[in-house]
């Protein structure tokens, strides 16, 4: 669904109502009674999550952004339970424009924290798909392990993601991606890649 105003240029959709729905949809969603058992459906979301991981490893940000719904959120909470982004600082809480800001900055050539660029490989696994109250939305949990190489060595970032997918014109777009680092409430060294 195309919004009335271009969310790449202005930010009109991050409203109080939007926040409330966001926080509600990320509470109590990983329930066995909502788990999708259909293999084909689980496979569909697993493929999407693997593709996202590959695009990020390849720094193919244009195709990565195209996987997201026009009005979307990239959210890296600073508290292990996700917290309430209205009352708390997050590590990152980007709407579409700020996601594009993030990519724009990395491409300026002056983002010293990414000079040289990190090389990453991501493993994603333990993909579980959950139904929601609306037929056109799914919640997906997956675990990740990112190996990040910089000239002084390799380090690992790990955690799990909660994706909220929305179906639009027969395709499933990422509406929200919540990235839960297992050490999200600790001091982090150079968190400058898209996680």
């Amino acid at each position: 669904m195309q919004p009335a105003r271009d969310p790449s240029l202005t930010s009109y959709y991050v409203t109080d109502t939007f926040y409330r729905a966001l926080v509600a949809s990320f509470a109590d969603w990983q329930r066995d009674d909502r788990a999708v058992t259909d293999v084909a459906e689980r496979e569909r979301f697993r493929a999407l999550i693997e593709r996202e991981a590959r695009l990020l490893d390849q720094l193919n940000f244009d195709d990565w952004l195209a996987m997201y719904a026009p009005e979307c959120i990239y959210w890296v909470p600073g508290t292990p339970d996700g917290g309430d982004p209205r009352r708390e600082i997050a590590i990152s809480f980007d709407d579409r424009r700020r996601m594009e800001d993030r990519i724009y900055r990395l491409r300026t050539g002056y983002a010293w924290s990414q000079a040289p660029k990190s090389r990453t490989v991501r493993m994603v696994s333990n993909v579980e798909v959950f139904k929601t109250a609306s037929a056109d939305r799914r919640m997906v949990r997956s675990n990740f392990l990112i190996s990040e190489f910089r000239p002084d060595g390799i380090r690992f970032l790990s955690g799990w993601c909660g994706h909220r997918f929305v179906e639009c014109n027969g395709r499933w777009d990422i509406e929200v991606r919540q990235v839960n680092l297992i050490d999200c409430d600790q001091n982090l060294r150079n968190p400058s890649i898209v996680i």
Binding site: Y19, A90, F93, D94, G109, S192
Partner: protein
Amino acid sequence: MLEKLPTASIGSVNAAERYDWDALVQEDRVHRLIYTDPAIFEAELTNIWGAVWVYLGHDSQIPNNNDFITTKLGLRPIILIRDSAGKIRALFNRCTHRGTTLCRKERGNAHMFTCPYHGWSYLSTGKLRAVPWPDGYACDFKDAKFNVAQVPRVDSYRGFIFGTLNPDAPPLIDYLGGITGPIDEWLDRNPGGKVEVCEANRLKYRGNWKLAYDNSGDGYHVVFSHRSLLEMENRLADEANKGMSYYKGSPDSKAMYMRYTGNGHHFKDKRPNIEKRAGGLWAVEGPAPGSEHIEADFRRRFGARADDILDLAGSEPVNINVFPNLSLLGNHIQVFDPVSVDETDVTWFGTRVVDADGTLGDALGEINALRMRTQEQFPNFGEVDDLANFEEIQRGLACLEDEWVYMHRGLGIPGRIKTDAKGEVTAPATDEAFMREYIHEWKRLMKASPKLVVQREV
């Protein structure tokens, strides 16, 4: 009643006698060793992180009796607690029996702490409450030495809590001196003159802690270190005036300035660059999630008052640096924590406003949400590049034979730097005058032989 006991009575090394400090810290330059030498770092743990007032935490983190957070004073693990009677104490997080830390949580509420190792328990005052199977001991557990050691002097200024182990340090208010003016103004722009701490962007870097303090008032690095940020936040702007754009061109000819106020504290005031009107600050804030919606919505709901409210989500253009570890900038409370000679934690605590006088009403939640988003910008897109540069300094300083680090910008130019009757030093915004002033204060402190003490309940 508290009993004072000297610390480090055995085997302490007097830093003052170890180095020729005047050779290491000169008028225009400092020696690389002050950033790289583990022995100097060790001496700092006494002469700086112990002998001066160090920021420990904020009132709003421990609002109720028995609320605590765990923090550090240098490397000493600390439980900062408002005890059962409401008194703020900084307890060493260390069992008097075997040295085990008593508390491993980051925050909570507790009227007592029980050591997980052998079950010794302590009240929130630090007083020993009980030990298991006391009939196996011949000693008198009423002896004060069994009560938890605590920082003898804990005081606060308008919600900012500091502690020192130095009985000879001046009163906190005198130590802060002229920097209280900027702190007051930073607080008073918020309703009721108050803010609350609300989580943090937590970062770390592999470099000495002083690299962060050197940078805290540095107006010279902005357009270079933060070039990607400045380009990013102005990419959609009609007029490239967002964020710190006023550093472009000839920053020293602008009305902004830096001021050294004494005792290592300094202040960079960029407010004169901003239009002095309601909404002036909001006008230069870069794009944030929800910006246009909230602005349009507030203008519709609150009319002319919308500008005042929106300014609360704007980043206050000041850097208020309180030696050695506190920096107020934008809406952040930034804290520097040394980890080792070449590792430092930099924690950007966010702040939210409270509706102290009822004027915000139902705008409170939304303006705070927007304030969260504006505060996330700099740590994500600016600070990461500074920290990368600090790490590269530390790497560069491995060149043993190239010994000197310069901080002489502005030095020796007639009429450029002004000292007033109070001894406060004012210079153009890109000058390194504050660096020279604070590092000379650091040198004075390193030459001293402070006699640190702890206290215990008796």
